[in-house]
């Protein structure tokens, strides 16, 4: 039972950063931006979260700075991809490498360390205990006591669904991706919709980064996003951008993350258990490809 609860909790905390980043990517997906900078935005967010939490002494500041840092990256993306019309793929790749470079540089410059910065002065995002529910056997240990960011992620999932499918903003957003010229001719600037989608993506990726460095673990490590941005991109593609589908897929990846941790308990080499989420992505892509092929034949 204990292993089961551990697996479920591992799944939830593994899924949260992927879900948050993917939800940000969902907005850009609908707006027709080929955004692959989630990886970099998350990494910068994670770094600034530690910066805020350590120097300003509160996890709230951490989250605030994380959003700020990630937004700064989103603004660069906007400047190049929307403003100067640079290729989005190129901008994304360069930004990811820029994020890696700047965080490594600042880690050395500000904290005077290489590789990893961990310190008891970094204040983590607290876990939330829900009264009454926490007393339910088994379920209580899953529903209550999760990190605050987990609940925020659930909230954001519904919010994204509502925003994209039930509001005028969402309609325009989807129109920008579906047929930008039509949207422009109806008097709404598609470029501005792309800008908004990127800003939203920046905020969500900042939250994802903050969870990585102040919730999932309590430290900053070089390149700690470790491909999660790419996995979230895969999650978006697999369900064609539907927020609820993204949530499901994220849980699946979270499960493989938790499974890896569990397997490590059974003496499997850490390197192989760490591969599990990436293998899971490949398997998911396989099923997606097969389904897409069947659809085309029909």
């Amino acid at each position: 039972m204990k292993a089961f609860i551990g697996l479920i909790n591992g799944m939830i905390s593994g899924a949260t950063p992927i879900l948050l980043a993917a939800l940000g990517g969902v907005f850009t997906y609908y707006a027709g931006v080929f955004n692959i900078a989630m990886e970099g935005m998350m990494l910068v967010g994670a770094f600034f979260a530690v910066l805020g939490s350590y120097f300003l002494g509160s996890w709230l500041w951490g989250i605030g700075l994380a959003i700020f840092g990630s937004l700064a990256l989103a603004l660069i993306f906007i400047l190049f991809a929307v403003g100067l019309k640079t290729d989005e793929f190129v901008t994304g790749i360069a930004l990811n490498l820029f994020a890696l470079g700047i965080t490594t540089y600042l880690l050395r410059q500000i904290f005077k360390v290489k590789g990893v910065f961990s310190n008891p002065g970094i204040i983590p995002i607290p876990a939330i205990k829900i009264p009454l529910i926490e007393n339910i056997p088994v379920l209580g240990k899953i529903l209550s006591g999760q990190n605050l960011m987990v609940y925020i992620a659930i909230l954001i999932t519904w919010l994204s669904y509502f925003l994209i499918f039930r509001t005028r903003f969402g309609l325009r957003l989807r129109a920008a991706g579906y047929n930008a010229a039509r949207l422009d001719s109806s008097g709404v600037s598609s470029a501005w919709m792309r800008v908004w989608s990127l800003l939203i993506c920046g905020v969500f990726c900042g939250l994802a980064g903050a969870f990585l460095s102040l919730g999932y673990v309590n430290l900053f490590a070089e390149n700690m996003s470790a491909g999660r941005g790419w996995i979230s991109l895969a999650a978006i593609i697999l369900v064609n951008g539907h927020p609820l589908g993204v949530a499901l897929i994220s849980l699946l990846f979270g499960f493989s993350d938790g499974l890896g941790l569990l397997l490590q308990g059974y003496q499997a080499p850490a390197q192989f258990t760490a591969m599990v989420p990436y293998l899971a992505t490949l398997i998911a892509l396989y099923f997606y490809a097969v389904r897409a092929k069947e659809k085309r034949i029909r």
Partner: protein, 346 residues
């Protein structure tokens, strides 16, 4: 057209260096002294220049790999994985083979290419059989290759006397010899650039690949076998990335150390993008990026600026050069369109 490209590159580099200088000024460093140190340790003098060229090898080779793939319309982003797999296979060969150097060195280079080909082949086959997009597949395979090679040097091939994960040194007969200050690894690089240029610009297969990259429908109607060409591009670019890994082992530490792949392959991808997939441009930018990286290490010795600034400089370079190129092209197009309109009026 050509002079415009050169102008664009030079202007882009200058703007990027100025932005870098501003960043240094904000942090309270002297940019002129910093740049002086940077280039003093990478370009001025035989030994610094030789080191820059040697360090350029993995950048240029993975850059060639990315450039050829992109120019052919194949999104092979698997260079990091192919590079470490090539390095691993070359290392294993170097540990167990014992041949005279003139057979050993080409043999190990071949093994490195096979390693890259095998890993790229996985992605190519997944696309061929199941139509899985090579873009995300190669990215995932990168992570898997990374963990796999770490496992290989931590358990089966670990140097028993070492404290951190690394293999023992390979047979000295597989070490690339020095000529003066210059490591012979640079001949592989120059050879690869020349051969690939001829292949890409003068041979039929290269022509087919380029046309497929520009307009795959046209290529198909013209009678190119798209499937076969895709396979060829993946395998050849995989071989180039694998060779990069093998040469790093044979020229440098002579063993597979944890973190050997570093950022070479991603830098290579960036270089290909900056070079707009041109092969000669890839070579030139590769050497330039290598100069920045090599010089940064020396710069750290005599100034307070951390060498990590090189990574920041590189990313700025990429963004500025690419953006100014596209901006310039758009502006020129606008001017041309306006001129056409004026001619039509008269």
């Amino acid at each position: 057209m050509n002079s415009q490209r050169v102008l664009n590159g030079v202007v882009g580099v200058l703007i990027a260096l100025i932005i870098g200088a501003i960043i240094m000024l904000v942090q309270g460093y002297n940019p002129i002294l910093t740049y002086q140190a940077l280039f003093q340790y990478s370009l001025f003098g035989w030994y610094p220049f030789a080191t820059t060229l040697k360090n350029a090898v993995p950048l240029v080779l993975s850059g060639l790999s990315a450039a050829m793939a992109f120019a052919s319309g194949v999104v092979n982003l698997g260079q990091p994985g192919q590079l470490v797999m090539g390095a691993l296979l070359a290392t294993i060969g170097g540990l167990y083979l014992d041949l005279p150097p003139e057979l050993m060195i080409p043999g190990l280079a071949l093994l490195a290419m096979i390693g890259g080909v095998l890993w790229a082949g996985v992605a190519a086959l997944l696309r061929q059989w199941f139509e899985m997009s090579e873009f995300i597949v190669t990215l995932m395979l990168n992570m898997i290759a990374d963990y796999f090679t770490v496992w290989a040097i931590t358990y089966p091939f670990k140097d028993a006397s070492a404290y951190s994960p690394m293999t023992p040194q390979i047979n000295p007969k597989g070490w690339l010899p020095l000529i003066g200050d210059f490591n012979t690894t640079i001949f592989f690089m120059i050879g690869a650039v020349v051969v690939m240029w001829f292949f890409f610009n003068r041979w039929k297969a290269g022509y087919e690949w380029r046309i497929t990259g520009q307009n795959s429908l046209f290529a198909r109607l013209g009678g190119c076998d798209i499937q076969k060409n895709f396979m060829g591009v993946m395998l050849l670019t995989g071989a180039l990335a694998g060779l990069a890994g093998g040469l790093v082992v044979m020229a440098g530490p002579h063993r597979f150390i944890k973190g050997l792949g570093a950022n070479y392959a991603w830098d290579g991808v960036m270089i290909a993008i900056v070079a707009n997939n041109g092969l000669i441009a890839t070579f030139l930018y590769g050497v330039f990026f290598s100069a920045i990286q090599t010089g940064a290490l020396g710069m750290e010795l005599i100034t307070d600026v951390p060498s990590e600034i090189a990574q920041v400089l590189q990313a700025i370079l990429v963004l500025v050069i690419v953006a100014s190129r596209e901006y310039l092209n758009a502006t020129l197009e606008k001017v041309a369109a306006r001129r056409r309109a004026r001619i039509r009026q008269t």
